[in-house]
Amino acid sequence: MIANALELMVPILIAALGGVLTERAGVLNIGLEGLILVGAFAAVAGANATGSLAAGLLAGAIAGAALATVYSVACIEMRANIFVAGLATNLLAAGLVPYASALTFGTKGVVRLVAEPGFPRVLGLPLMIVVAVALAIVTSVALFRTPFGMRLRATGGNPQALLARALSPDRYRRIAMVLSGALAGFAGAEVSLRLGVYLPNISAGRGWIALVAVFLGMRHPLGAVGAALVFALFESFAGAAQGFTEIPGTLLLGLPYLITLAAMVGYSAIGRRSRIER
């Protein structure tokens, strides 16, 4: 169960890292769900076109970054409401993926990976777990040990300080959003390439779980590792519970959302009115 949980942690963690970046830049990124979805589809499409899983991962990250660029242009260049544009991002993914799928694969449903799914192991651990934790460390160093990270944090915390230095907060917001798109797309790619198939609604709430993992991890990349692991343990437990209880599968579909809701409420209750947004 632990090994399974570690695997389930990977996509949540990687998407949450993107969420940490945007959150630090002052953007509550509710578009993660859609970004994961396009990543998952583009990965299978890219891997099938090239025959390489690495190309698939890259395709997923690029697709996520591309959709996030649209999202950021709407929010920053055209000053759209970030939440409404975030919803639009999710709906755009939900609408465009079946369309692209119908045009390229002749189906808007299941798309199978031609290549052998799964990733190799490094140091006895599945590759993607190593990659995810490494990404968390890199994100942490970039955020807290580099001038770029300091400016990105100032964008969310004190944009006036950037303006005073003739730096543009919008620039850092844009970078954070596109990076979060690449990370979320990569997370989606990891899911579909590990399973060897793209399924409709494959993101299955992971974007929202990742968003809550950002808060639960105290908006810190390393905190996100712990938060993502907690969610993954629950998910793994729920999966196992399906085997030895009478709870029907349909009902369990709602469970991740319920756990996420409980975590969000618990976090804010303990934070005692510390304003999470606005």
């Binding site: 509710i30 920053i76 409401n81 939440f83 919803l87 709906l91 119908a102 809550v212 804010s268």
Partner: protein, 340 residues
């Protein structure tokens, strides 16, 4: 970047709808064998005969009613992203209430179904309001999560314990015929729910712009701190506005049951909860603007469905249209000074 719900200018609404139409025309061109046929189906079919026209107007009523729920929430500065679940679960509870008490005189039965549905929607949405008041949990996230968690539960009830084994459909048993709203344009599904939605729109308009409560709600939405400083009770307007918003979504679900479907069906909400947000924003968060905007969306939706029947490709055209509109509707296209 605006965080509070904003209305955008009239130009944003028009441009958003225009852009969505342009995208539609292009996608139909790429995705169908005969562009001309697909376009004709999209633009002409919804108004081609009584049946299609009536169904479109019926959908307009449901969209309008749900979008009024969004108007109230957004005007109060609150995001209700759980409309989909409030509508669906409300419809299911309303149906179950109607099935549990089948012997009432028609009008009373309808009231029972609608009341149960509205109360359910109100309850679900108020949870988010209460959490926001108590601990500052963002209602934006909780309303979505609660709705997403409950939709599978409702689906489970419809396909499992509450399923009608006699019908080969993923639906509950059918309500007694006395509980069905009269149809207005046979053979279409247009029914009494549509004029009711118009009445509610006018009522929301009057309440929002001519009553003290409406004024206080708008003030609360514009600046919460100032409103509290001015002596406005924040609980009334955060929990109350969300509750009312949920009640309208539940009412929409209930009316869809007594008006059109006569049972709760799997996949029943069909995106109306999301569409309502787009309708409300294109209508510039104005109850009367929402009437016009609901008409536009019902037309687009009917067109999307018609073109899907008449072309080889079936795809989520309706979803893409919504997405493009939502992406642009709050955008501002006017260059104002130097950007930060």
């Amino acid at each position: 970047m605006a965080r509070r719900p904003t209305t955008g200018s009239l130009w944003s609404s028009l441009l958003a709808v225009g852009a969505a139409l342009a995208v539609t025309v292009v996608l139909l061109g790429v995705g169908s064998a005969s562009w001309g046929d697909a376009l004709e189906a999209f633009f002409v079919q919804p108004i081609a005969n009584r049946y299609y026209f009536g169904n479109m107007v019926s959908l307009m009523g449901y969209l309008l009613l749900a979008s009024l729920g969004i108007v109230i929430a957004f005007r109060g500065g609150l995001y209700n992203l759980g409309g989909e679940g409030q509508l669906f679960v409300g419809a299911l509870v309303g149906t179950l209430a109607g099935l549990a008490v089948p012997g009432l005189p028609g009008p009373l039965g309808v009231v029972l179904v609608l009341l149960a549905a509205s109360l359910t929607g109100a309850l679900l949405a108020s949870v988010s309001g209460i959490l926001r008041r108590a601990w500052g949990t963002p209602e934006l996230i909780t309303s979505y999560l609660l709705s997403a968690a409950l939709i599978p539960a409702a689906e489970y009830l419809i396909t499992g314990p509450a399923n009608d084994p006699a019908r080969n459909l993923l639906a509950t048993r059918t309500l007694p015929e006395a509980y069905w709203l009269p149809r207005l344009l046979v053979p279409s599904e247009l029914n009494l729910a549509f004029p009711l939605a118009l009445v509610v729109a006018v009522m929301v308009y009057l309440a929002m712009f001519l009553s003290v409560r409406g004024y206080e709600l708008r003030l609360f939405g514009l600046n919460e701190e100032f409103a509290v400083y001015a002596g406005i009770d924040p609980t009334t307007y955060s929990v109350g506005a969300l509750g009312l918003s949920g009640a309208l979504h539940g009412l929409t679900g209930g009316l869809m049951v007594v008006g059109t479907y006569h049972a709760a069906i799997s996949g029943f909400s069909g995106g109306i909860g999301w569409n309502a947000i787009a309708v409300a924003l294109v209508g510039r968060l104005h109850p009367l603007g929402a009437i016009l905007s609901a008409l536009v969306f019902a037309y687009l939706d009917a067109g999307a469905k018609a073109s899907m029947l008449h072309t080889e490709f079936t795809f989520e055209l309706g979803t893409i249209i919504q997405a493009v509109i939502l992406l642009l509707v709050t955008a501002s296209f006017v260059v104002r000074g130097r950007r930060r």
